[in-house]
């Protein structure tokens, strides 16, 4: 399945629909478009064979955000989709939230496969009939028709943020969600668009004293009063909304002291957390900074319980990565459904998976050519010294334009979606 090749940046979010057992995957791109994929089911009769079913096909495409302009500040607002999140499924329709830098929208995705026929006052083409020609009355009948997927905006949450929105997270109470920008986090009710509550505000009184910004935020998967947000300094703050209305004061702060041996000009950039995810169990946190992924236990604040090197060989190349702006790339990280494997992206179309039980990591390459589902991906290795094996890639020959930033893992099965520069792969 391919995305528009002009839109390299894609956001993912998976939905596992337990009611109708539909599998939907939504991706957003730089042009403000959202594409929803649906997984084919093998056959309708038998119970679903998880992991056996077919590919994902395009289900619907719609334009979520348009370029906008802030007249007050004379700033253009990009239509690029920053995050997409599905809402927990409740009825026949699916709802998703999508956001660009400033505005969050709630979309309703519904199917229509029947349409009424036999109107009394309208003819088949919809034109109003001349009343004098109506001689008898009948009740319109629903007839099956081709499947149509309708996507309509149901809510638009605008004017909530002064800075660029970087995260949205739906709460486990199915009623509220949070949106985070660089300095503030707001909590919204899904039904109310003209009001939001500010729950975190780290803007200093004097902007020149600014030292850190919020980089990601997420609600706890089970506890609707807990949320976590990460900062550009590499700290995580867990906040409990029961403590106060404004959660500037954190309940717990998770940070690891910096290793003085690794100090360089770019230490701050490298320690900035680009993504944070709760585990499905709610016990652990997964964070991604530029060179590592770390697993934190909510009960231990003084440091991560596990640290995995994603591409340590880049540490000596930070200066050139700074020059070509690659050091600012924001990689995402994901858990698998059982919280036993974590995954994150890297360069050269590589992505890394780490098995938490064994502590081992593997590098895989996302090949466009292997578009068959369940094709075995090649294990790759980056040559950093010692004996070079055939097939090893040298650090200097890595293609830094092929970066895997966005990915999603199916909440129940071993299916992953990875955004490459011009496509989506499962």
């Amino acid at each position: 399945m391919g995305e528009d090749s002009e839109s390299p940046k894609i956001n993912h979010s998976f939905l596992r629909d337990y009611v109708t057992e539909e599998d939907l995957l939504a991706t957003g791109d730089k042009g403000g478009r959202v594409v929803i994929f649906q997984r084919e089911t093998e056959s309708k009769g038998e119970s679903e064979e998880l992991g056996e079913s077919g590919e994902y096909n395009v289900y619907s495409t719609f334009q979520s955000h348009e370029p906008d302009f802030d007249y007050l500040k004379s700033l253009e607002i990009e239509e690029k989709i920053n995050k997409i999140r599905w809402l927990p499924h409740q009825n026949a329709a699916h709802f998703l939230l999508s956001t660009n830098d400033k505005t969050i929208k709630l979309w309703k995705v519904s199917e229509r496969d029947k349409r009424p026929e036999g109107y009394n006052l309208k003819d088949e083409e919809g034109r109003i009939k001349d009343i004098s020609t109506v001689t008898s009355l009948r009740v319109p009948v629903l007839k099956p028709t081709d499947l149509m997927v309708e996507v309509r905006p149901r809510r638009i949450f605008a004017n909530g943020h002064t800075y660029h929105v970087n995260s949205i997270s739906v709460n486990s109470d199915d009623e509220t969600y949070l949106s985070a920008d660089d300095l503030r986090i707001n909590m919204w009710h899904l039904d109310i668009t003209d009001r939001s509550f500010n729950i975190v505000d780290i803007k200093p009184a004097n902007m020149e004293d600014l030292t850190e910004v919020i980089t990601a935020a997420e609600f706890h998967p089970q506890h609707c009063h807990l949320f976590v947000y990460s900062s550009s300094k590499g700290t995580l703050r867990l906040c409990d909304m029961r403590e106060s209305a404004l959660c500037d004061k954190h309940s717990k702060i998770f940070e690891e002291p910096e290793d003085p041996g690794n100090r360089s000009f770019f230490s701050e950039i490298v320690s900035s957390v680009s993504d944070v995810k709760f585990s499905h169990s709610g016990r652990y946190l997964l964070t991604r900074d530029y060179l590592t992924v770390k697993v934190w236990d909510l009960n231990m604040e003084k440091g991560p319980v596990e640290t995995y090197q994603v591409h340590e060989y880049l540490r000596s190349k930070l200066c050139s990565l700074y020059e070509n702006d690659c050091i600012f790339d924001k990689f995402e990280c994901v858990w698998n459904s059982t919280d036993s494997v974590i995954m994150t992206g890297a360069y050269n179309s590589f992505f890394r998976m780490f098995d938490r039980e064994t502590g081992r990591g593997v590098t895989l390459e996302a090949w466009r050519e292997n578009s068959k589902p369940r094709a075995v991906l090649r294990t790759r290795h980056v040559y950093t010294g010692g004996r070079r094996r055939r097939g090893d890639v040298g650090v200097d020959s890595l293609d830094f334009t092929k970066k895997i930033l966005h990915m999603a893992w199916h909440p129940a099965e071993n299916i992953i979606a990875i955004a490459t520069c011009n496509g989506v792969m499962q």
Binding site: D70, L75, K80, L183, E208, E212, F265, C319, Y322, F328
Partner: protein, 274 residues
């Protein structure tokens, strides 16, 4: 030395990024600019500290201790007699944060210094390079030996010599070093190492009152120079920045360094406006 070159290069790149971010679609990205400014400050600190460790053999720590005490009030401390290096620091202009670099005077042994009579003028604020240069020139006119360096200082390139002398002069805070410094200054002025000048610029450019420039005794003429500098308008950041990325030469590098503070300022003001 290579640290300085590296630090200087990183500073130039950072400034270029800040400049480019202003014209980017979608507005200024706060997170990225914050990180770039942190890199900029780290590089500057390394640049300055490197300079000191190289230039000052003794009393480095003392000197730095003194230097960190720079405050606005020091402005008034300028001694009437000009002795060692005169540092003309032009404060970045309208930055509440930036403390105008004032020349610090070390009165330790004016007499000794007098003998050297090297004017070091380091423009801390790059705000207006030309104006600082002018002031430097003025200062230099006071002391004959300095005149050698002064003329060199003129437009950014020649400033190298001056800068060189300045940093060295800055490095010293006490008597014994002073003579040493002075001699260094002269040498450096003559050598006009380009590499040094950027460093010096950088030092001067330090905006957050962390500069180590140690102020030598200031002349009254320096005071007037300062006034000139403060009075000079800050030429638009854009113009300077645009000059910066284009120029690869040392002088442009120097300008860039000088712009450092300014760049931080505009960024801050941009953020505030944000």
């Amino acid at each position: 030395m290579e640290y300085k070159v590296e630090a200087h290069r990183i500073m130039s790149i950072s400034l270029g990024k800040i400049y480019n971010s202003r014209v980017q679609r979608g507005g200024i990205k706060l997170h990225k600019n914050l990180l770039v400014s942190l890199v900029l400050r780290s590089a500057r600190q390394v640049y300055l500290s490197d300079y000191y460790s190289g230039a000052c053999l003794n009393a480095q720590s003392e000197r730095e201790g003194n230097e960190w005490d720079i405050t606005d009030s020091e402005r008034e401390k300028f001694p009437p007699s000009a002795t060692e290096c005169d540092r003309v620091e032009s404060t970045e202009e309208p930055q509440p944060n930036e403390q105008p670099e004032k020349e610090r005077e070390y009165r330790e042994n004016d007499d000794e210094v007098k003998s050297d009579q090297v004017d070091c003028t380091s423009t801390l604020q790059e705000q207006n390079q030309n104006s600082s240069l002018d002031s430097v020139a003025k200062v230099s006119s006071e002391t004959p030996p300095e005149s050698i360096t002064e003329p060199k200082e003129s437009p950014s390139d020649s400033a190298v010599a001056e800068r060189d002398s300045t940093p060295e002069a800055n490095g010293e805070s006490h008597q014994p070093p002073k003579p040493y410094v002075c001699s260094n200054r002269k040498r450096s002025a003559e050598e006009s190492e380009s590499g040094d000048s950027p460093q010096k610029r950088t030092k001067v450019a330090s905006s957050n009152a962390k500069e180590d420039e140690e102020a030598e005794e200031m002349d009254t003429s320096n005071v007037s120079n300062l006034i000139t500098i403060f009075g000079s308008s800050f030429s638009g950041l854009l113009s300077k920045e645009s000059a910066k990325p284009e120029a690869e030469a040392e002088d442009s590098g120097q300008i860039c360094c000088d712009q450092m503070l300014k760049n931080l300022n505009p960024w801050s003001t941009a953020i505030v406006a944000f």
